[in-house]
């Protein structure tokens, strides 16, 4: 079975393709853009495409294949599993299959694609959080330095004061530290 993954998000396409390799003997390719010559040459049984790809409408038109158009594909709508199409739409994945492919095989492909889409989102979320955490740690360090200088505290004392301020105000320590630095900047005349 040949599966083509089209996704403008290259990293996610690669992740989906790698996941599909493990499903069953399948030849999997991934690409960021629909290319007619490539599709004709590869002749996929299934096309898995990201909902955010503008090429979806072009694929959609192949259902009405006429002379000279690539092999016909139909969107997977299995009436026996009405929830599946909705799940896929919400996950951001669409699939087009050559007419006649067994629904069970499509299901396993879609399942992998959906879980890899979710995994990508989680990884990106983790990365964003890690960056924010790192940023927050830098801000806390600078606020500690400010308190040590202005209040003559040692590092531990400065951290304890920040933590107390955070608890008193019910805000994360990074936010309190950023506020403190901003106020210090105003008092120094940075914003005037």
């Amino acid at each position: 079975m040949r599966v083509l993954v089209i996704d403008p998000d290259h990293a996610r396409a690669a992740l989906v393709a790698a996941g599909l390799q493990g499903v069953e003997p399948a030849e999997v390719r991934h690409t960021t853009l629909y290319d007619e010559a490539e599709v004709l040459a590869f002749a996929p049984d299934v096309v898995v495409i990201a909902a955010e790809s503008p090429d979806r409408d072009t694929l959609e038109s192949l259902r009405e294949a006429t002379e000279g158009a690539p092999r016909p594909v139909v969107m997977f709508v299995d009436r026996s599993e009405p929830g599946l199409a909705e799940q896929a739409v919400r996950a951001g994945v669409a699939a087009y299959v050559v007419d006649g492919l067994a629904p069970g095989r499509v299901r396993s492909i879609l399942d992998v694609a959906m879980s890899r889409f979710a995994l990508t989102q989680q990884l990106r979320g983790d990365l964003a959080k890690a960056k924010a955490d790192l940023e927050s740690r830098k801000v806390v360090d600078r606020a500690k330095g400010l308190l040590m200088k202005e209040r003559g505290l040692d590092e531990d004392g400065a951290y304890r004061l920040l933590r107390k301020l955070a608890m008193d105000r019910g805000k994360p320590i990074g936010v309190v530290a950023a506020d403190l630095l901003a106020f210090a900047g105003v008092l120094r005349g940075d914003a005037s």
Binding site: A51, E52, S53, P54, D55, R56, D57, T58, L59, E60, S61, R63, E64, T66, E67, G68, A85, E86, V89, R90, A94
Partner: protein, 325 residues
């Protein structure tokens, strides 16, 4: 948010998303008690799927697309009339008239010399653009399925594909015809208002479940969009409308190109343009049958009545005091 009902509405970067963009930008949704998130989507297929499953509560949609969904999607409001046009490459423009005069000769000459068929693009199989272009080709003596190659390209990509020499002509909505002309790539041969005066184009498509489960929110949404359409039609607001549409997160095209179809082509609200008229639905259904998208024998009247819900429009419009033409 305090007590506002939340709605997610999708759109495609085209001038006729104006009633939605205006209502969102000027706070018309909030005035009706709604917190609306406008989501730009990359394809019509994704718009259709998201509305059909309720992942979007409504969207800027090709009118025939709502009919093709068979009842899962309702069209309680028309977003605009006219706005599309047929544009051909500058190379072709010199030899073809506005009604396709001379095109059959070009097709025959290319066939005789083995230079391959001409390629025309539309935005989606179920679209006014497809039907208008097919009718135009047929009237010029061209079989759209045999004599030329018809492909589908999303609206914001039409111009780049013409620049790459991959398409010889297309039928697309504003502002992309004017953009092609401004860039010296193509020439507008004929507009939708000349092909089918006052013809339908986009609708607000909503999930049938929204009308059942949240009728008050739907009514509020329609009122805000009707207000947006009326504002967009008023010449006094023209410059502000162009500024709203030109923003990169809305249409993202040059203001001069956007201005062109607004001047004398596209209609959002006046003369009852917002009303989803039964005859519009029937015209499109007849084309869907003609071009093989609907089986002959389908009850077209019943289909149109199920999808084209002028009753929902009237219900909302009369409460808000807007006059129906």
């Amino acid at each position: 948010m305090s007590g506002l009902s939340e709605l997610r509405l999708g759109f495609i970067p085209l001038t006729d998303c104006a009633p939605l963009a205006v209502a969102a930008t000027l706070g018309f949704f909030e005035d009706e008690g709604l917190a609306v998130e406008l989501v730009r989507e990359a394809s019509w297929a994704t718009i259709r799927d998201k509305v059909a499953v309720g992942a979007l509560d409504g969207a800027h949609m090709l009118a025939p697309m709502a009919l093709a969904a068979g009842g899962a999607i309702l069209a309680p409001l028309a977003l605009n009339r006219n706005g599309a046009a047929i544009t051909v490459s500058t190379a072709l423009a010199g030899t073809i008239g506005p009604k396709g005069e001379g095109l059959a000769e070009v097709v025959a000459a290319r066939r005789a010399s083995g230079r391959g068929t001409l390629t025309f693009a539309v935005v989606f199989p179920e679209s006014m653009h497809n039907y208008l272009l097919r009718d135009w080709l047929a009237a010029a003596g061209i079989d759209p399925d045999r004599d030329v190659r018809l492909v589908v390209i999303p609206p914001p990509r039409m111009v780049e594909r013409m620049r790459a020499g991959e398409v010889d002509g297309f039928c697309v909505g504003a502002p992309w015809n004017a953009v092609a002309e401004a860039e010296g790539l193509g020439r507008i041969l004929i507009t939708a208002s000349q092909l089918l005066p006052g013809g339908p184009d986009k609708v607000l498509g909503v999930p049938a479940t929204l009308a059942e489960q949240r009728p008050d929110d739907l009514r509020a949404c329609l009122r805000a969009v009707i207000r947006g359409a009326a504002w967009a039609d008023d010449p006094i607001n023209r410059e502000d409308l162009i500024a709203i549409l030109a923003r990169p997160d809305v249409v993202g095209a040059a203001p001069a190109a956007i201005a062109r179809a607004l001047a004398n082509e596209i209609v959002f609200h006046r003369d009852g343009a917002s009303l989803p008229r039964r005859e519009d639905g029937l015209w499109m259904a007849s084309r869907m049958v003609r071009w093989g998208q609907l089986r002959a024998g389908v009850d077209l009247d019943a289909l149109v009545d199920r999808v084209y819900r002028s009753d929902l429009y009237r219900d909302a419009a009369e409460i808000s005091g807007h006059l129906l033409a």
